[in-house]
């Protein structure tokens, strides 16, 4: 649904993430302040990269691992999942109901092609970490120079 462009191999100064945060906060400020806030890009993700792999983390509290789907094809990653909202029975009442549930699906354009067979995902304390190793064909080849 959402295709996000990761900027491949460009160093991003920390000031940009600060500005991104600022923009997000401004967007929140000027969006509907009444009623539950719905995040357009759910879940929020962070990415960590090096030459070999990319690690994507996402905050997904209260999910069952069987309700999270991760699929990778080439350099496209899709995260999808669902969470149930709290339901109340008879004699119970809500004083606050801020936690949202439902389905989400987000697609990312990764900075390189990924070896989908080696993708590993880990879910701990409500944080999903997906480790995506760069495919061998995609890695830059070192060319040795032979001395004559």
């Amino acid at each position: 649904m959402f295709l996000y462009d990761f900027e491949p191999y460009t160093y991003r100064s920390p000031i940009w993430s600060e500005l991104d945060n600022f923009q997000n906060e401004m967007n929140t400020l000027f969006s509907t302040s009444k009623g539950p806030r719905v995040q357009r890009n759910y879940p929020c993700v962070n990415a960590w990269t090096n030459e070999e792999e990319i690690k994507l983390t996402a905050e997904l509290p209260g999910f069952n691992t069987e309700n999270i789907q991760i699929s990778v094809k080439g350099d496209i990653l899709t995260l999808a999942g669902s969470r149930e909202t709290e339901k109340i029975g008879e004699g119970e009442e809500f004083h606050r109901n801020e936690r949202v549930g439902g389905n989400f699906s987000r697609t990312f354009n990764l900075p390189f092609r990924v070896d989908s067979a080696k993708v590993v995902a880990d879910y701990r304390d409500g944080v999903l970490t997906v480790t995506l190793p760069r495919s061998e064909e995609d890695k830059p080849k070192k060319i040795e120079i032979k001395a004559a």
Binding site: T28, L29, N41, A47, G62, E86, D125, G126
Partner: protein, 130 residues
């Protein structure tokens, strides 16, 4: 009738504030009550049981937690949408809570606190018709 109310004003939209070098976030909560207990459920991704603190003092319930550093060694952060730090939120509770029986669990980044209400000690006095 709201027996439980947030102590912060509702108009606070930006839910972060800097405390030292750490950002503090206000977690989203569900609060459900029935005759016997009040149940509070909070989304606190990244915080584990060890880092969560719950206190009830003079009708004020405070929940807090912290997220251990999320730096990944040997990698550089290339893309950021969320920040981590700590969680903090407090509520005032007007119901009489049995402090001894408060139960809390943290599972998959969700904190659940059950606050049992103390059974009413007030006896009903019957009025006899003369």
């Amino acid at each position: 009738m709201d027996t439980l109310e947030k102590r912060e004003p509702d108009s606070v939209v930006v839910n972060t504030e800097r405390k030292g070098s750490k950002k503090i976030f206000k977690p989203n909560v569900d609060i459900i009550s029935d005759e016997k207990a009040i149940t509070l459920i909070a989304d606190i991704p990244g915080a584990s049981e060890q880092s969560v603190d719950i206190s009830l003092e003079k009708e004020v319930l405070t929940i807090s937690g912290s997220v251990v550093s999320t730096e990944i060694e040997g990698h550089t952060r290339s893309y950021t949408e969320y920040d981590t730090g700590g969680y903090y939120r407090s509520f005032s509770i007007t119901d009489d809570i049995d402090k001894e029986r408060i139960m809390a669990v943290v599972k998959n980044g969700v904190l659940k606190v059950v606050l049992p209400k103390r059974e009413s000690v007030i006896k009903k006095i019957e009025v006899k018709a003369a």
